[in-house]
Every structure is written in structure tokens, then in C-alpha cells.
């Protein structure tokens, strides 16, 4: 036990004391913070209103309505919110094509704010009838902008149609009260107060963290085995430590480093989400804007599921990576052999991403019961939807048993592989190593 502890400590210290660890651990949260803060900052930074020209070729009030509605649109909330659009209306009845073409030539070209045109919205009677309203602009690629614009146009189009059919404008105005779908996730029969966006962001970040940590720490285990083989310290180690002590010590030591790093990251994330307004303040962000940051609330039960699955998943892959390291003599060789493992981790990451839309579908449930996939899939599903504890525990048990199986197999290979130099083993030799007493 004392010896095992010595191996774990050495492995832990050797990793934690490197610059790479310190930089990675510090940079992780910094990048995380930027990922969260940056979109909000960018969103609020644009203070300049977009200049939109409404080309009015429609009869009645459609063009006028559009002009007013656009001019009323505000960026952000609160009393200081600024206008989103500067609007000019050009009447073009009968000469639509000429006006349109001449304005198209101007759009997006002029540098100064007075003459610049960002987009053209064309109001015609046909458009009113068919619902196909045309917008031309330099910013059509921005999905959020277009959807906002679409909303405004749709509303005005409806109003105009209703009024033309003789509906009282006051009535129409009342009926058009703002609708906002507030999403909130339910877990274990309780409201979590977490929005759909935050829940998605959490699942995304989690699957990414799991994917990266399993891959990175798994490969660290492998390269550490190779290092011991190539610098020949293995003989001294093997003469005083059992292969089990060596492998377990290495895997646990590296795992502890991973847990420490993840702990720091998750801790930072929790701190960030608890103090979003304060941190927003550092970036001169108004409190309303800070509350827009997609920061998820991490429940303790999710944290437990996340860490538990990280640990079994890590041990499963790390043991396999250790065995690959033991089989090979150089890092290059090991990289070829470990591609299989790397692909497995990547496959479970990608399938986790593709399951975001259907976290309780048949495929998701099946993959949660496959040891190599469950470590990423299960925590992600758990964060996205409510899953019974029975299912979580079944998945965990299967993964745990799978891990024991892989660790046993890896241990058999490791035992012999660490002292083998020269030729790589064939599959037949590997089978022989596993069977050997």
C-alpha cells in the first residue's frame, strides 16, 4: 500500500509541477469566461443603428407601418436602450425597379454614417398578399438579425392585412402584445429555473470537457509508460514494484491530476455563474446584459453524475491506453495503435452531440448502456432531460463492470509488455500474453 501510494504521489507531482499543467489550468477558466462574456459584449458593443431604407411601393399604410415599427425597435432592454435602426422611407409607386436598383448600388458602400445604407426592405401589395417580403442587405447572413427583422415585418404585415379587412386598429394593436416563450427545465419533478439555452450550453461544455479530459489524460498515461520504457527506468521499477502497483499507481495518479484540473474548472464555472453580474461589471457590462450570459446552474446531483462518470470513463480509457503504451516502444508506434481508442472517445463525443435533440430516444438509451460510450453520453443526457436514477445506476454499473474488464485485460498486457523491447507484438502474441500465467 505504501509503495502504491509512492507511485501515485510521484505521478501526481511529476504532472502538477509542469508548466503545461499550470498554464492549462489557468487558461481553461479564462477561455471559459471569454466564451461566456464575449458574445454578450459583442452584442452590446454595436452602438450604431443600422440604416434601413423602406422602399414603399404599396398602397395604403403598409410602408408607413414598417417604417414606424423599425424605428421603435430597441437594442437591449431598459431605459438607456438605443435605437436599433435608422429608417428612411422612399415612396416608389410605379418606379419600383429604378429606385431599387439605384439603392442597391449604394448599399453597404458608403463609409460615412449619413449616406450609408445597410439594407433595403421592399413593401409592395403583392408582398402583402403573398407574404413574401423582400429584404436586401449586406447583413443577411446574420441569423439573429434576420429573425428579429422577420418578426417586425410579420407583425406589421398581419396588422395591415387585418386592417384592410376592416378590423378595428385598436383591437389589432391589443392582440399584438409581445409573446415570449420562457423555457425552464424540469429535473426529477422539480423546476430548475434553468433556461433551454443554458441547459444546452451546459451539456455542450460538459461533453467537451469529458471528451478532452479522457483523451488528454489517457494519452498522458500512455506516454508516461513509453517514457519509462525508453529511458529504461522500468527495470528498476519492475524489480521492486509489482506491475499492478505500477499501472494502478500511474492511472490513479494521472486521474487525480485530471480531477484536480476539472475541479478547478468546474469550481470556476460555478463561481462565474454565481457572480455573473459582478464579473459583467468588470467588463463595463450593465446588469441586464450580464443576466443574458448563458451561464447554467450546476446542480449537486449533476456534479456527482458528471464526476462519477468521468472517473469510470477515465479509468476505462486510461487502462487501455496504458496497455497500448506497454505494447509499443516509441511514441510514434503508440500513436498508431492508440488511434482505435482515440476514435472510440471521439465517436462517443460526436454521438453525444448528435443526441442533443433527442436525449431520451432509443439510440441515446442504448448507447448509455455501452461501457465505451456511457461516460460521455450519460452525463450529457442527465443534464438535458430527466432520467430516472435506476437508469443512471444501471448505466454506471455496466460501465464500471466494463472498466474492470478492460483494466484486467490491460493489466495482463501491461505486466509483460513493459519489459518487452524490440518488435511489436502480433495479435497472437497479445493473446498469449493475456493467457500467460
Amino acid at each position: 500500500m505504501h509503495k502504491l501510494w509512492a507511485v501515485i504521489r510521484r505521478e501526481f507531482q511529476a504532472r502538477v509541477q509542469t508548466k503545461a499543467f499550470v498554464i492549462g489550468t489557468v487558461l481553461g477558466p479564462v477561455i471559459m469566461a471569454f466564451m461566456v462574456v464575449l458574445p454578450v459584449i459583442l452584442n452590446n458593443r454595436e452602438t450604431e443603428a443600422k440604416h434601413i431604407v423602406v422602399i414603399d411601393a404599396a398602397s395604403g399604410q403598409f410602408g408607413l407601418k414598417l417604417e414606424r415599427a423599425l424605428a421603435e425597435a430597441r437594442r437591449g432592454g431598459g431605459p438607456q436602450a438605443i435605437a436599433k435602426y435608422a429608417v428612411t422611407r422612399v415612396t416608389a409607386t410605379g418606379r419600383l425597379k429604378e429606385v431599387r436598383d439605384s439603392l442597391v448600388r449604394l448599399t453597404g458602400l458608403a463609409r460615412d454614417t449619413v449616406h450609408r445604407v445597410d439594407g433595403l426592405l421592399i413593401a409592395t401589395d403583392e408582398a402583402l398578399e403573398s407574404g413574401n417580403v423582400q429584404y436586401l442587405g449586406a447583413n443577411v447572413g446574420s441569423l439573429s438579425e434576420m429573425s428579429m427583422l422577420g418578426n417586425i415585418v410579420e407583425q406589421q404585415l398581419l396588422t395591415e392585412r387585418l386592417e384592410r379587412k376592416g378590423v378595428d386598429p385598436v383591437l389589432v394593436h391589443e392582440a399584438q402584445g409581445h409573446v415570449d416563450l420562457k423555457t425552464s427545465k424540469i429535473t426529477e419533478g422539480k423546476e430548475t429555473g434553468e433556461s433551454g439555452g443554458a441547459s444546452f450550453a451546459l451539456a455542450y461544455v460538459m461533453s467537451f470537457l469529458l471528451y478532452f479530459s479522457m483523451l488528454i489524460y489517457g494519452i498522458q498515461v500512455m506516454s508516461s509508460v513509453i517514457e519509462e520504457k525508453t529511458n529504461r527506468i522500468m527495470e528498476v521499477l519492475a524489480s521492486s514494484l509489482t506491475p499492478f502497483q505500477l499501472m494502478a499507481g500511474k492511472v490513479i495518479g494521472v486521474g487525480a491530476v485530471g480531477l484536480l484540473q476539472l475541479g478547478i474548472w468546474v469550481g470556476t464555472a460555478m463561481f462565474l455563474s454565481a457572480n455573473a453580474v459582478m464579473i459583467g461589471g468588470w467588463f463595463n457590462m450593465p446588469p441586464e446584459a450580464a443576466s443574458q450570459m448563458p451561464l447554467p446552474a450546476i446542480s449537486p446531483s449533476l456534479l456527482i453524475v458528471f464526476l462519477a462518470f468521468f472517473l469510470v470513463g477515465f479509468f476505462l480509457f486510461a487502462a487501455a491506453y496504458a496497455a497500448v503504451g506497454a505494447m509499443c516502444n516509441t511514441m510514434q508506434e503508440a500513436q498508431q495503435y492508440s488511434t482505435v481508442l482515440t476514435l472510440l472517445v471521439a465517436a462517443s463525443f460526436i454521438s453525444a452531440l448528435s443526441l442533443f435533440n433527442e436525449p431520451s430516444g432509443a439510440l441515446a438509451r442504448t448507447l448509455s448502456m455501452v461501457p465505451f460510450f456511457a461516460p460521455i453520453i450519460m452525463p450529457v443526457r442527465y443534464s438535458l432531460t430527466s432520467i430516472s436514477w435506476v437508469e443512471v445506476l444501471t448505466s454506471f454499473t455496466i460501465t464500471f463492470l466494463g472498466m474492470l474488464g478492460v483494466a484486467w485485460l490491460a493489466g495482463r498486457i501491461y505486466r509483460i509488455g513493459i519489459l518487452m523491447y524490440g518488435k511489436k507484438p502480433s495479435f497472437r502474441e497479445l493473446a498469449h500474453w493475456i493467457r500467460a500465467a
Binding site: A14, E227, N231, R232, E235, V236, S239, T242
Partner: protein, 319 residues
């Protein structure tokens, strides 16, 4: 007689294609220095690896400290310096020694105290907190040597301990080895350099091509050869006239000519007096003429044969 510290009974190790060690039996008594000699590829390292549990023998058994067991079970009592030296490059010297001490079952605190003592003694005090990779190769060898002895082992097994060492470091290590043997502990070391073994060992075993050729105490072995050898020293340029005399097969049966000195074995029926007379008559300038026991080198060559010193290709692959 007490149990031997180390006893090999009929051990055999086969690798794909050839047998590295065949029916090897050895006994290493308590105390003193035991030399395991043999040409390159003779199976010395394989034998040591089997003792240390790095390889398992296919046949036979290994007894350590009086019971059937392997090196790892006694790791706190055995110090092992492998032929292939290696340390963690990024670790600090002190941390490294403490870790290897712990791997042998020594407590952290004791290991640190011992490490300081040894580093001091071998002149590495200033390097205690430096990384291994900052040390010169010779210094790294010393660190490895310390790790072998840190836990005061009863049995020290050194595989080619002096290879790659400069004379100064070689001397330091030799002194330590002798001191261990004097304190009643046992040292087993392998080498293919006969002069060194001859000076240091109480007992030796010679193996070649995986088989034991000879073993016993050095004095017994030499005594068994009688005083049929003569060591010659030539004055400057005096050696060239000796050639004809030394090639006289009625007088000399074997010559090992070093240029300014030579060791010869007298032919049956010849005597020392006749050899001396012949040399003087031939006008050879002599600085030394001494009747001696055969050197280990000459015993080795005569036993193993020159051809065994160059093993076949298949033997080298798994030396």
C-alpha cells in the same frame, strides 16, 4: 555452513529461437564479492533479470535468503543496478532518490536522510535539488548507484557496474563495493572485464553461451592451474627479439602478447630456467620475469575459447 544468500538450481530461459540460459546452477555464499563473468551475450544479464523477477525462468528455481522466492519479494533487502541505466529526467535528484527508496519499502523520512548522506559522500551535495537532466552522465550514474544502496541492502546485485565510468568515478564505486563486502554483506556483480574481477572478487562463476563453465573461489581456481605461467616485461624495443622464442612450441604452449609485456604458458616438459636462458640468448631486453598463477584473463580464454567471445547472431539478439 549457513544458507547461501542466492542459489540458482538448474535454471533455463528460452527466447524465441534460442536458449539464453541453460541448466545454470550457482551458489553465492553470504558475504564477499561474487563475480559473474562471461563474454558479451553469455546470459549474464538474463540470469540477473531472472533473479530480480524481471523475467521468469522456464525451468528451475531460484532461492534467495534460504527460500524459494524472487527478487521482488525481497526488494527491501536487495539493491539492484540494472545494465540499462535510467532515471526520470524531469525529477529532482532528491525526490528521485526518495521515490526509489519508497519503492523499496523505506519510509519517506528515512529515505530522505539516507539520500542526503549518500549525495554528500559522493560529492553531489550541490545537485540535490537540481533536475536529473541537468546532471552529467557520470553524475547520473552515481545517482543511480546511490538508489541501489539507499536502503542498506543485504545483497547488492550490480550488472556491469563499471561500464561507462571514468577512472575517478570507477574508483569511488569500487571503494563503496569493497566496503559493503567488508561489512559482511554480499555483492554480486557481472562483468566481462577480467582484470577488474580478478582484483575484487572472492568467488567467480564464468558462463558462456548460457552455460556455466567454471565456478569457485578465485584462489582455488588459480591454484588448480599450478604455476605454469610466466609474466614478462620488455624494455623499450626489447620485445621484438622475443618473437622467435615465444613461438617455440616446445617451450611455450600459449602466448598472450601485449607488446611491452606478455603472459606465456610453459609447454609440457619445459621449465622456467630454459625459457629465461632462451630469452637472454636471443638478446631480449627484460624488465620483468616472474613465475605467476595464470591470470583470470588467460583462464577465461582457455576455458571459454576465443570463439565464444564472439557469440553467434542469434545469441546477441536476446543478450
Amino acid at each position: 555452513m549457513p544458507d547461501p544468500v542466492l542459489k540458482l538450481e538448474q535454471i533455463t530461459k528460452r527466447f524465441a529461437g534460442h536458449t539464453a540460459v541453460r541448466n545454470l546452477s550457482l551458489e553465492v555464499p553470504q558475504g564477499g564479492i561474487f563475480g559473474l563473468l562471461g563474454p558479451n551475450g553469455a546470459g549474464k544479464t538474463t540470469t540477473i533479470r531472472m533473479i530480480m523477477n524481471i523475467l521468469n525462468p522456464d525451468e528451475g528455481r531460484i532461492m534467495l535468503f534460504g527460500k524459494v522466492s524472487t527478487g521482488r519479494e525481497h526488494s527491501e533487502r536487495i539493491g539492484f543496478l540494472p545494465e540499462e541505466r535510467g532515471l526520470y529526467k524531469k525529477m529532482k535528484v532528491l525526490d528521485h532518490l526518495v521515490f526509489l527508496g519508497e519503492a523499496k519499502g523505506v519510509s519517506r523520512k528515512t529515505a530522505a536522510i539516507k539520500a542526503h548522506q549518500w549525495l554528500d559522500r559522493l560529492g553531489l551535495k550541490d545537485w540535490t535539488l537540481r533536475k536529473v537532466e541537468d546532471l552529467s552522465k557520470g553524475m547520473q550514474q552515481k545517482v543511480q548507484f546511490i538508489s541501489t544502496l539507499l536502503h542498506d541492502p543485504d545483497l547488492v546485485i550490480l550488472d556491469e557496474p563499471f561500464s561507462g565510468l571514468d577512472p575517478v568515478n570507477s574508483q569511488v564505486m569500487k571503494d563503496v563495493v569493497v566496503e559493503i563486502a567488508r561489512s559482511g554483506r554480499t555483492v554480486v556483480f557481472s562483468t566481462h572485464i577480467m582484470e577488474q574481477a580478478e582484483k575484487m572478487c572472492d568467488r567467480i562463476a564464468i558462463i558462456a553461451r548460457g552455460e556455466k563453465v567454471l565456478d569457485g573461489s578465485l584462489s582455488e581456481i588459480k591454484g588448480g592451474y599450478g604455476k605454469r605461467n610466466v609474466a614478462l616485461g620488455f624494455s623499450d624495443g626489447g620485445g621484438k627479439n622475443a618473437l622467435a622464442v615465444l613461438q617455440d612450441r616446445t617451450l611455450v604452449s600459449k602466448v598472450d602478447d601485449f607488446g611491452t609485456s606478455a603472459e606465456v604458458e610453459l609447454a609440457p616438459g619445459a621449465d622456467h630456467g630454459r625459457l629465461l636462458r632462451s630469452l637472454v640468448e636471443a638478446g631480449v631486453g627484460l624488465t620483468r620475469f616472474e613465475v605467476v598463477e595464470p591470470s583470470l584473463q588467460s583462464i577465461f580464454i582457455s576455458k571459454v575459447g576465443a570463439e565464444a567471445a564472439t557469440p553467434t547472431a542469434s545469441e546477441v539478439t536476446r543478450a
